[in-house]
């Protein structure tokens, strides 16, 4: 193992009307949060296909943050409620896959809550940092065993490069 402290990579799904604007507002107000999160803009949290979350985990995210408008404040009236239902179900699926619950989090943030979103991101990053790298169902061990697998297989990064740190925190 190397000595570089673990820096998680987190994918955040945001709603175009609230949390993405909250992220913009955090920027405009120069509120600081850790660079471990990378945001994706959707039109609504209701657009979040659960497979997006699984895809992010499969591609190496250590955690996924889902965010949307507060219940009752959805730009599309009530689609965040539908997102919430799916989220609850997805949490079970993810737990069933052996992923700690703390790696999938839901945060409501209105367009005015730049400070709050930054605070929540910071919290999630700290929690995931404490959890350590996602070893999905013994993925690390499995990849060693699968070292002979073809290199284009998505779930099997080259065993030789493991456990290289995630790209974001590697300094030039």
């Amino acid at each position: 193992m190397n000595d570089t402290p673990f820096e998680p990579v987190i994918v955040g799904f945001t709603c175009n009307w609230c949390s993405y604007r909250a992220a913009d507002l955090a920027g405009t107000a120069r509120v600081k949060y850790p660079p471990n999160i990378r945001l994706i803009r959707l039109m609504c949290s209701g657009r979040l296909d659960p497979t997006f979350v699984l895809k992010a985990f499969a591609e190496g995210a250590d955690a996924v943050l889902v965010s949307g408008c507060w219940p009752g404040e959805c730009h599309y009236l009530e689609q965040n409620i539908k997102a919430l239902r799916r989220f609850e179900l997805l949490k079970r699926v993810v737990a069933g896959l052996g992923i700690e619950p703390g790696r999938l989090q839901l945060v409501w943030a209105s367009a005015a809550e730049g400070q709050r979103l930054a605070r929540e991101i910071t919290r999630v990053v700290e929690e995931v940092r404490a959890l350590g790298p996602l070893d999905w169902g013994g993925r690390h061990a499995a990849t060693t065993a699968l070292a002979a697998a073809p290199p284009d297989s998505a779930a099997a990064p080259d065993a030789n490069t493991e456990p290289e740190p995630e790209p974001a925190e590697v300094t030039a």
Partner: protein, 676 residues
Amino acid sequence: MTTDERIGVYVCHCGSNIAATVDVEDVRDWAATELAERGVVVARDYKFMCSSLGQELIEKDIAELGLNRVVVAACSPHLHEKTFRGACARAGLNPYLGELASIREQVSWVHTDKPAATAKAKAVVSGAVERVRHHEPLEELHVPIDPHTLVVGGGIAGIQAALELADAGFHVYLVEREPSIGGHMAQFDKTFPTLDCAACILTPKMVEAGSHPNITLLTWSEVTGVSGFVGNFTVTVRQKARYVDTELCTGCGICQEKCPVKPLDEVFEAGLGYRRAIYTPFPQAVPKYPVIDRDNCTYFANGKCKACEKLCPTGAIDFNQEDEILTVSVGNIILATGYELFDARKVEQYGYGRLANVFTSLEFERLSNAAGPTNGRVVLRDGVTEPKTVGIIHCVGSRDRNFNNYCSAICCMQSLKFAHLVKEHTDATVYEFYIDIRTPGKAYDEFYQRVLEEGTVFVRGRVAEVTDALRLPEEAAEDGRLIVQVEDTLAGRQRRIPVDMVVLSCGLQPASDAKEVARLFGISCSSDGWIIERHPKLDPVATMTEGVFAAGCATGPKDIPGSVAQGSAASARVLGRIQNGEMALEPIRASIDETRCSGCRICNDLCPFNAIVFHEDRMVTEVNAALCQGCGTCVAACPAGAISGTGFSDAQVMAQIEGLLLANVDRQRGGKAVPA
């Protein structure tokens, strides 16, 4: 690997806004080399990509290098997406084949560690490159604009907005909850800094709005439902029963004279005066027709009385009237729903509601108003005694972390006006207890100077307490008066100042039902409860929802000139839409591939806009593009993957995830990528 995509990547310095935290050249070089196999044929950086020279870079590359995709790494798409789409379009590339990656709001402005921020910027660019590969050429949708407009709120901002539109020749429905339009301004006596009589300048506008052929006035009414979207809203309005036939009523006022019930007028007279059970809030009310207040009417209480009905010369009273639900079609909506006064009872140490001679600012407005309950005599709560000393306390409920953090903007000037009015009406000594005097308006500071010269005493300090408890021996002579305890921060000592009357300059706060209003119209409020503007500086009268605008205090505390200006501004925005006859919308819509639809109907109940229709005959579901708002909830739900969402397709999002996590680069290398 070969690819048909020819992608240009443009990394913006934004002066030093991005370049100070992100190594822009490094991102550029990384994209040019690491993402070359993903289709990037050119990567450039530029000081200001949004400048015309920056845009020309893109246009030139599209023409000369045959780019068919463009990624600009710069600010938020909410700022410059349109700019770069324009650049693509000018060079003949479909504007939707460009993607704006936010490395300013989401990277350089929120992170401090340059290497980490640079690495994140690379990931964000990589995500955008992967995403843009899956972009499809799209065409804007055009929707027709219904030329009718709904204005909600009949205060000065709403009246102004309605008049502008009506004068331009377009029809307006002006909805007001109270029996008359006029709003808070109608309650005021004088207006700062000119001391114009509020009624004298407001009532002509009210009359004009009330009689304008292009304005349908719906007072004593509330909006109960809104459906549809920009250009084509359907709004339901509940018009409460007036119990007065407006066709017959002449507004003679005999009913009001003869009504035997005199309830306290909590609304217009701020609890200082009485009205009748059948009433118009004030003599100049528009419309002139009274309403019957069911809760206080003797007939509705015990079935007797009917004095108004017996004495009405035109037989206009109709106790059988019922609430009416009206449905109107409008293209745009202007919300001018105003504010409420901060409830001074919450600041217990100031004694409002407990100490008789503590008044709110609105009460003082009514006291000093010649048409008010005291005919303009400034007197104590007993109704006869003129005060010899008056203390005016600023920032009640404002600039106070216990209540509202914000400055209510109007209270300093309002307090100065009160000082002037007290001196005009009485011989009293006036104290102003202030934190800072804020007079940033035209002729406002001059007014402050005038009040200073009139001899008002200014004490800088937040008042600790207003009390009737006498604590010091020398206060013995002050029995029955109020003591204002304050730290005079300029003199550097505690003072206890005896006064006869205290006026609390209360702050403004959003209406108590502001959140419900926001929900009804599909817009958002800040944590304070004010409506959020599309952009606080550059688009202050638009909301995030197309076709819904806001004016006046609905977006935050404002003085009368500010509210009027916003009323006009909002209607100018609406007029532009109406003149164009149609507007272009983002082509973000869901559509269903019928060949893949199994008819399972899982999506059918997900759409709140009724855009999803099921065809029983063919057992397939279809999305009506005209009703679809593009949220994508049905896209995410379809188990067969038959629903696709333009602009945010599964392929686009999945690719962006890969790109963000650098899985794209990994795969080419057969291992984990390490950007350096």
